[in-house]
């Protein structure tokens, strides 16, 4: 049972425009969410996180939005740059648990 879902396997966006990556979850116990970015042949790197007590967190060009009632989070990248081309994973945890549950990933391609 996939508790964290990324329904778009791929996304293409023009350079300079906004990229929006989506993630849905089913477990209402989740209270901490993270986004990771992964280049080919490298391990994932942490990008941004959000606690369930917030509905938005911003870090430079990256903003994560959390809609708890819809069990949905999204990552906005503005403006998109060629170096943003990568696979993006969302992940969730609850109760300070060490374990993360990952989504299946979305491959983002930025078109120059």
């Amino acid at each position: 049972d996939q508790q964290v879902k990324q329904n778009s396997p791929s996304l293409s966006v023009q350079e300079g425009r906004i990229s929006i990556l989506n993630c849905d979850y089913t477990n209402s116990m989740f209270d901490y969410f993270l986004w990771y970015k992964k280049y080919p042949a490298e391990g994932p790197t942490f990008l941004i996180s959000i606690s369930s007590i917030k509905d938005k967190n911003e870090d430079g060009r990256f903003t994560v939005f959390l809609n708890k009632s819809a069990k949905h989070l999204s990552l906005h990248i503005v403006p998109s740059q060629p170096g943003d081309s990568a696979v993006y994973f969302c992940a969730a945890s609850w109760g300070g648990n060490e374990k993360l549950t990952f989504g299946t990933g979305t491959r983002l391609t930025i078109i120059p």
Binding site: Q6, Y32, L34, A41, G43, T45, S49, G96
Partner: protein, 113 residues
Amino acid sequence: DVKVTQSSRYLVKRTGEKVFLECVQDMDHENMFWYRQDPGLGLRLIYFSYDVKMKEKGDIPEGYSVSREKKERFSLILESASTNQTSMYLCASRRNLVGNEQFFGPGTRLTVL
């Protein structure tokens, strides 16, 4: 900077071989994890360790075991490799604080023939 290193970037083994994947972190993190990444399935947790000599099964532990004798090192063992264990294996570590992110190594691409 946190550094997580994995012993091999690429490995090719034969069916039935015993395989050891090693992971070392240099930031004194309590928690360490082993994942495998497969297309369309994302990252799936195999085993994790919340401290030395402590281990807990993840979501897909079958066919794997782990060892953590020292805090900085976490080993994944495939007792008898099979072709369905061909995958990208990723190790991660984390400080044992609420909300603290996991830091990943570069991964080991294992092919079992």
